[in-house]
Symmetry: C2
Subunit: 131 residues, 2 copies
């Protein structure tokens, strides 16, 4: 009997990647932030889904990872109870040179703006905090 975490993770081959799907996957600030965080780990470095501090619910986050995987932006694999993610840089750079680097730069802007908002909340008096 398959274990609960053994979902089959489908990935498009390089030849199946479409610019329209990749562009759609990159049209969301949370997904750009995920891409930027993955780019911070060394080439082929992997990060577990749980390690991304994203301003969205866990299920929304899962949907974003799935969108990125189905478009061919990331590879996912399960290791025990963790789902690990890495960028498909070779495939993307071969097909759409420069696109991933643009997305990474934009993702870093998103991360910075969230971080600045976080600092502003931390600096505010307790009564003024909104969460």
């Amino acid at each position: 009997m398959a274990s609960r975490t053994a979902t089959e993770l489908v990935h498009p081959d390089r030849g199946e990647l479409r610019f329209t799907d990749v562009a759609a996957a990159l049209s969301d600030p949370v997904r750009l932030a995920i891409v930027a965080r993955l780019a911070q780990v060394a080439p082929d470095g992997e990060l577990a889904c749980g390690t991304f501090a994203l301003p969205v619910s866990k299920s929304t986050q899962s949907g974003h990872f799935r969108t990125l995987r189905e478009a061919g932006v990331i590879r996912q694999r399960d290791e025990g109870t963790r789902r690990l993610n890495r960028l498909r840089r070779d495939d993307l750079d071969a097909l759409f040179p420069g696109l991933l680097d643009l997305a990474i730069a934009q993702g870093h802007r998103e991360l910075s703006s969230w971080s600045a908002a976080e600092d502003a909340r931390a600096d505010a008096p307790a009564g003024g905090r909104t969460r």
Copy 2:
């Protein structure tokens, strides 16, 4: 009294352009084809909406032009009864270098595939035509 064609055409300023909006605008094959056709006319060249032979209805086509304009990919202006379009290459190249050229290359692929499909239909015996 305003004439029927004098719709105000709103354009985001360069500073208002967002990568997420531009990526979303470029995530559709018809919009990529529009971008590629506009790139064929000389820098700052303009094409009227009616001159694009696109495999979609006129109203769908209008929606695609509006999406491109609102994202900041094209500028539109009315001249008499014609609505003219041109790429915002300077703005896009300054903000997202390389993105427009990727989109143009992908758009040419779309145009080629439609053209090949058109040729195949033209070559087929009359009974076999599907339109």
